[in-house]
Amino acid sequence: MLKFLGRRLVVAIPTMLVIATLAFGLLHATPGGPFDTAKRMPPEIQRSIEAKYHLDEPLWRQYLRYLNDLAHGDLGPSFQYRNTSVNELIRAGLPVDAVVGSLALLTAMLVGGLTGIVAALRRNGFWDHVPMFFAALGISIPVFVTGPLLILVFAVQLHWLPSGDWRGGEVRYLLLPVIALALPYTAYIARMVRGAAIEVFTSPFIRTARAKGLPTRTVVLRHALRPVLMPLVSFLGPAFASVLTGSIIIESVFGLPGIGRYFLTGAINRDYTLVVGITVLYGALIIAFNLLADLCYAWLDPRVRLQS
């Protein structure tokens, strides 16, 4: 167990290094710095600002400085939001994404899981074809279509819900973004669970359970559920990492103050440290949640041994 964790961490460090280097290198390869504005600044002010952010140093010094700060968990100052550090920006945005993201994934797991199991039980019947058609649609319709459509129907025409804004996470303001974000995940989970459930339902141990006369409900809940949900675990790891760093689309459609918005404006305004910081955070979260998913997997399935 400890050995497994150790080996995974040894692989994680070069991966993080690659992510940080790629992001850092790309941003610095560009023409135009963060302080190139249309209005020309006096050269001495320009120089003093560049000195403050160490932009006057050779690139390799900036890179080493960045890596050193990173190792201490410091993502540096933001270039665009003066006097604010990237850590502070992330701390401000993360709760929004955490609330919307976990609610959406929870909804997706419940609805998608249930749909998938029902579809597998009614294989090739009405309750299989119709939900699976909608699941195919749900995967094909991007969030930037469903988001505006939800606003159009529920906010503009029916006036039931507000069309956007955050207001400290009031339930009325949460509903639409959570639904919009949950839709594609629900569709994906439903398809995945259906596939896994069909495989499990046709396996010998379920036949045995049926043969000894157990009712379907007991067979499903007691015997089939756990192996059916196994593939979900490895899917949810990266999914959780990606909702935590914010859905750019959801945030811009519904006007939520999350990390994704900072990322987009940062990329457009060449806010080096902010963009690199969020990218590194995303990479770190992916690695962490994948590891967590593997541990959960081993915990759920005693046959899995933690190796390689």
């Binding site: 992510i19 790629l22 195919a136 094909s140 930037f144 279509v145 988001g147 811009s252 990479g283 690695i287």
Partner: protein, 291 residues
């Protein structure tokens, strides 16, 4: 006709014909194929036939509703929506297919090399794929498009270059398992040259999988391009991809909802058709899936 008397090449053709027949029995895939054909045909023909073009504003005909002189209405600059949507379909399909080809090419070469070489080369190459897997690509592509300008070429090279990982893994696995199969050994024992073996035996066996994954890569790429365009990082105005049209439509949906729904329907149609076609091809081409 007696199959046993036929020369060898016909045997391979027969395999493909069988797949085609299996595909024909997969009704959703056939419908998807027909719809895709229709969209491609419309996208090619409508801009040629229509009296309107996608760029010229017409101040006398702003926000015409669908029907009448303009079949799908006009946008806020009086441009014919049908022509603009068809141009959007052209761009989305072109980006989708071109980027998928790039990713398939890289993926097949990388995967096959790793699989053939084996040993240290293999594990090193697959290690690189593993590392690239955990690199956050959506942010990276956004950064790339911001950095190097919103170049049309860059968008699909960037997308193609990052979506080859799955194909590389699959092709490597296939190559590994093919390398040790009996029929390959038999072919080698018969003294076939390497080239003949690759062309006759390896490629046909890889081709099925590659076609399936290429078909499934196209919709992901189209969605990704639409996503970039929605954020304003895609093609330049006045040219518009489906993503740009949807983004414009979302801004005007309160007064003119058709500007959002019509391009959205076409995007969904294309993406959905490609996924169903991919499913059908999987059933038709995957030899293990024979029912």
């Amino acid at each position: 006709m007696n199959a046993a008397v036929l020369p060898r090449p016909a045997r391979i053709a027969g395999q493909w014909r069988q797949s085609w027949e299996r595909l024909c029995r997969h009704r959703p895939a056939l419908v998807a194929l027909a719809l895709l054909g229709l969209v491609v045909l419309l996208a090619l023909l409508v801009p040629l036939v229509s009296p309107y073009d996608y760029a010229t504003p017409n101040w006398d005909e702003l926000y015409q509703p669908p029907g009448g002189g303009h079949l799908l209405g006009t946008d806020g600059l009086g441009r014919d929506l049908l022509v603009r949507v068809m141009w959007g379909c052209r761009i989305s399909l072109l980006v989708g297919i071109a980027a998928s080809l790039v990713s398939v090419l890289i993926g097949v070469l990388w995967g096959a090399t790793a699989g053939y070489a084996g040993g240290t080369t293999d594990s090193l190459m697959m290690r690189i794929v593993d590392i690239l897997y955990s690199v956050p690509f959506i942010p990276l592509v956004i950064v790339l498009t911001v950095l190097f300008g919103r170049s049309f070429l860059l968008v699909f090279v960037a997308i193609g270059a990052v979506s080859w990982l799955d194909i590389a893994r699959i092709v490597r696995g296939q190559t590994l398992s093919l390398k040790n199969r009996e029929f390959i050994e038999a072919a080698r024992a018969l003294g076939l040259s390497n080239t003949t073996m690759i062309v006759r035996h390896i490629v046909p066996n890889l081709l099925g999988v590659v076609i399936i994954y290429a078909t499934l890569t196209v919709p992901t790429v189209i969605l990704f391009e639409a996503f970039l365009s929605f954020l304003g990082l895609g093609v330049h105005a006045p040219l518009a991809s489906l993503g740009t049209l949807i983004s414009d439509g979302a801004n005007h949906m309160k007064s003119h909802p058709y500007l959002l729904t019509i391009p959205a329907v076409f995007l969904t149609l294309i993406v959905c058709s490609f996924s169903y076609l991919g499913d059908g091809l999987r059933d038709a081409l995957d030899p293990r899936e024979q029912r």
